[in-house]
Symmetry: C2
Subunit: 364 residues, 2 copies
């Protein structure tokens, strides 16, 4: 359920790929597909868009081996399936694609594992510069929700729906659809967007009325956020010109959650401009909060220490702020969860912690 | 957000427990609390309610040791917290309770781990015969959704909301609140309730319009269903007199998902009458489907085989149907996912598989 233009563009780009194979054949060349090398050492900071994208190094998928030829055969079948899917205005999941390949007439074109079909779809995204959502490929699970003073219109298969994300929803909030580009923002009274890692904290903020008291839109990340959640966060920032803050636990895994909202991931660096919100700021539990608020903590596990050390080497965390906080945490040997703020009472987070942090940051 | 009477009853029962400790002290007895033994060997089938409940064996928590006395002290503090929470019409998560105990004046009453506070809340549920939801304890994550011809009214902290679960929601559906007893069913056009394990299949059914074509309410289980999901399923069955079917993958873990909807779990046998829908029937992938429809499969792992063998011993699966299917599966040494039906095309599940199965079962 994306717009007709998006569908047309996606189809065109896919067909172009097939045409390219055809032309290579016709010219007597061995068919091939060039894609950027997807490793940490090949991501670079793009000064214009302020996100991390793939650099210049590329790898080639070529039909000069049986293995390589089989890959391009699978790509051709997948392209045909996707073009048909777009023409029929249908959609499917990555898992369905994997199973569906069993019905393809050429056994050599069938996928051996879902890793293989997932990887191919990513390759096609990169080469065609069209997102998976525009191929009408759905994720297995989406599931995040919004709550706050936002009125939107969603195009669904059953017609348009106008929904206010406080007045027209239950306590559970508005469920973000798999493809949030089916949403138009109609009206809002939002001062800032607050992305929250855990369900427990999301419910605390909603129960305490933080969204109404501070005119904020609460986005539930549900741990590592789905693409749909990152996409709508970026659109809220770009289209409505809203500040975005990310509220997580205070451990290396949660810093990665913040990182995936702000900078994107290595795996999806080709999508950074579509998914990442580089202006998003961190309002999660900081190692210095553990000291300042005397929060209940857990000791760092070995895996936490390794993750922190790897973040110190990560170009996306190479700022004074992150270096200082991560070094402090390695020193303290402790981590704390966002719900640990409850040790100071159930209202501490909404009456003291967030207002203080957000004022200091200039968001309030 | 439950009804005022529920809140009063919960408060009363909690205070009764405290009064009991007091009376035991006053009578010169060592304070104690009796609770049913929570093991597989102490669950029995209740012929009246058709669910598995705890049997007659009990264990005693007594203050005749320092360890036991500390348990009852913690119980007393937790009871005071819960009564206050009910009086203030607030709520909290299990995790918040754990952290909050750090603010209690008596250090001996503070919890050492979340396991300890979780266990205490379960004990209090069992002894008081009031559910956690009525203590206003929220789960960490709920998150399942409804889609279908159902109009409901939800009481929220921000007032009442009337929502039609097709016309007033986006493609994501209606998000079930943490406590579904805040919902009243207003009107419906549902012929049966279809609980679905995976998000991919839930989206397939909605995209194919199965809920409108067959007047069914699609409940997304999201794997092992949350209490809120099981509770609303039971209420739909009991209050609207609707058949319930459960559509899962074909492996031992998914049979347990069906089992938890239909029979409840050993851990929550005290809640079976509140959460379990014993009339729910299985429409998931059956081992015989693997043969009949020649579905793509994966080999059984050792852990799958162990789980199947343990199900053969489980009183809740002691029927001819389950014995036959499980033995067939051990024989085939294969399992299949619900999305494997896509190997027969994306419409096979809604045009052939479900209509055939549901007709045979007499649901259609």
């Amino acid at each position: 359920m994306s717009t007709k233009q998006d569908d047309e563009l996606a189809k065109e780009r896919l067909v172009d790929l097939a045409v390219e194979f055809y032309d290579q054949f016709a010219a007597g060349e061995v068919p091939r597909m060039n894609i950027p090398t997807r490793t940490k050492s090949n991501i670079v900071f793009d000064e214009d868009s302020k996100v991390w994208v793939y650099g210049d190094r590329t790898s080639t998928r070529s039909a000069n081996s049986v293995r390589g030829a089989r890959k391009l055969l699978k790509a051709s079948y997948a392209i045909e399936f996707l073009v048909n899917q777009l023409e029929e205005d249908r959609s499917s999941t990555l898992r369905e694609l994997y199973y569906l390949s069993e019905s393809w007439d050429n056994e050599e074109a069938q996928f051996n594992s879902q890793d293989e079909s997932n990887q191919l779809i990513e390759d096609l995204e990169i080469v065609s510069k069209v997102t998976r959502e525009d191929f009408h490929m759905r994720p297995e699970e989406s599931g995040a929700t919004l709550m706050g003073p936002l009125e939107l219109r969603e195009q669904t298969r059953r017609g348009e729906r106008e929904i206010h994300c406080q007045k027209d929803v239950g306590e559970g909030g508005y469920q973000i659809p798999n493809n949030p580009d089916t949403i138009d923002f109609l009206d809002h009274d939002i001062d800032f967007v607050l992305c929250v890692e855990t369900g427990g904290m999301r419910d605390r903020l909603v129960e305490n009325g933080f969204d109404t008291d501070y005119n904020c839109l609460v986005v539930h990340l549900k741990g590592q956020p789905a693409r749909a959640t990152r996409r709508i966060t970026k659109r809220l920032h770009d289209e409505l010109d809203l500040p975005v803050v990310v509220f997580t636990d205070g451990d290396p895994w949660s810093y990665r959650i913040y990182g995936s909202v702000a900078y994107g991931s290595i795996k999806s660096a080709h999508l950074s401009e579509y998914l990442a919100t580089p202006e998003a700021r961190f309002v999660g539990i900081q190692p210095e909060d553990i000291v300042e608020y005397d929060l209940p903590t857990d000791p760092l596990a070995d895996s936490d220490i390794n993750a922190l050390e790897s973040e110190l080497e990560d170009p996306r965390f190479e700022t004074d702020y992150w270096t200082e906080q991560i070094e402090l945490q390695l020193d303290l040997e402790k981590k704390a969860e966002q719900q640990a703020l409850a040790a100071r009472g159930l209202d501490f987070v909404t009456e003291t912690y967030l207002p203080d942090r957000l004022s200091t940051m200039g968001v309030l």
